[in-house]
Subunit: 159 residues, 2 copies
DNA sequence: CTTATTGCAAATAATTTGCACCAGC
DNA sequence: GCTGGTGCAAATTATTTGCAATAAG
């Protein structure tokens, strides 16, 4: 979490114009610990700057996330995806083709659970992110590593 | 992943009617390793059973997931949520009120990465799921632990 | 026979897009 | 002044819902 002056510098370094809206949106994220939705940020910012538009909030959040100035809590957010396997296991997610592979690994199922504020943990899942073999090799530079939503193909099935 | 006869028994045990559609959908999940979307399953099943409807696929997947006969890859799927913090960290997700809390824990940042099929892992995130303190105590039996999408409130902010 | 489930069509909700105007540099 | 960013309204996409017809137990 950067201070506002640092955020402004960071925008400049990345070639992003520094606008009032971007600053307001970043400030809104700074002041909540909520992991807010676009709507929530929109309402929050609107209180101080009523002319902001929801579309701007969406666009800004995407832009900032692409430039790693903020994070997106759920990278696979666009489509609900299901899994026949109900055992505890973990996932490898290809950031390019969005293929998901299963990881069954006993060691990863034995983590020491963190403790925080009386939260009662009943399970956990780990999402490993990166590039699958196909996308490292076959993709001829047409990668989109920034967590966006570009491809629809899942690299086929079994193969 | 159950065999079809076991799936049928499991449905009966849970009081779910065993329908042709449910079996086809489950079979489709069995035969792919794709973590498919509802659309993908719809197309797959439609090939063998053209009269199936997309709404049925959505309903069936939700039903099976609620009864733990299948899993949902992304439990926080319904809304995109953002985070001002770009350091590696992990999340506690309350399955009831959908509040998300941050976990910064050095040990959790040092996992041994699994290896699989040439996949190149660049980062990972752990999502711990359970009930926050508020929801364990204050909620008077009105819990919805089955990964559904019920509440809209995020239990307020700082508090 | 009774209730749960299906399938259709219409509704809703989240997010994206096109485009004209405006602001940052 | 040039280019990227904003705001509006309309479009798109995923998902849900109401309801009558049908199948499961």
């Amino acid at each position: 979490m950067l201070t506002i002056p640092d955020f402004i510098d960071a925008c400049r370094e990345k070639g992003l114009n520094v606008t009032y809206q971007r600053i307001m949106i970043y400030k809104s994220l700074l002041r909540t610990n909520n992991h807010p939705t676009a709507e929530a940020i929109y309402h929050d910012v609107k209180a101080e700057y009523p002319s902001i538009s929801l579309a701007t909030v969406y666009k800004t959040l995407e832009t900032l996330a692409e430039h790693d100035l903020i994070g997106k809590v759920t990278p696979l957010h666009d489509l609900a995806r299901y899994d026949g396997d109900t055992q505890q296991h973990h996932h490898l997610v290809c950031l390019n083709c969005r293929k998901i592979m299963d990881i069954h690994d006993e060691q990863l199922n034995q983590l020491n659970l963190p403790r925080k504020n009386g939260f009662h943990i009943s399970s956990y899942r780990i999402q490993f992110e990166g590039l699958c073999d196909d996308c490292q090799h076959r993709s001829n530079g047409r990668l989109k590593t920034a967590g966006g939503k570009e491809q629809t193909t899942f690299c086929g099935k079994g193969a």
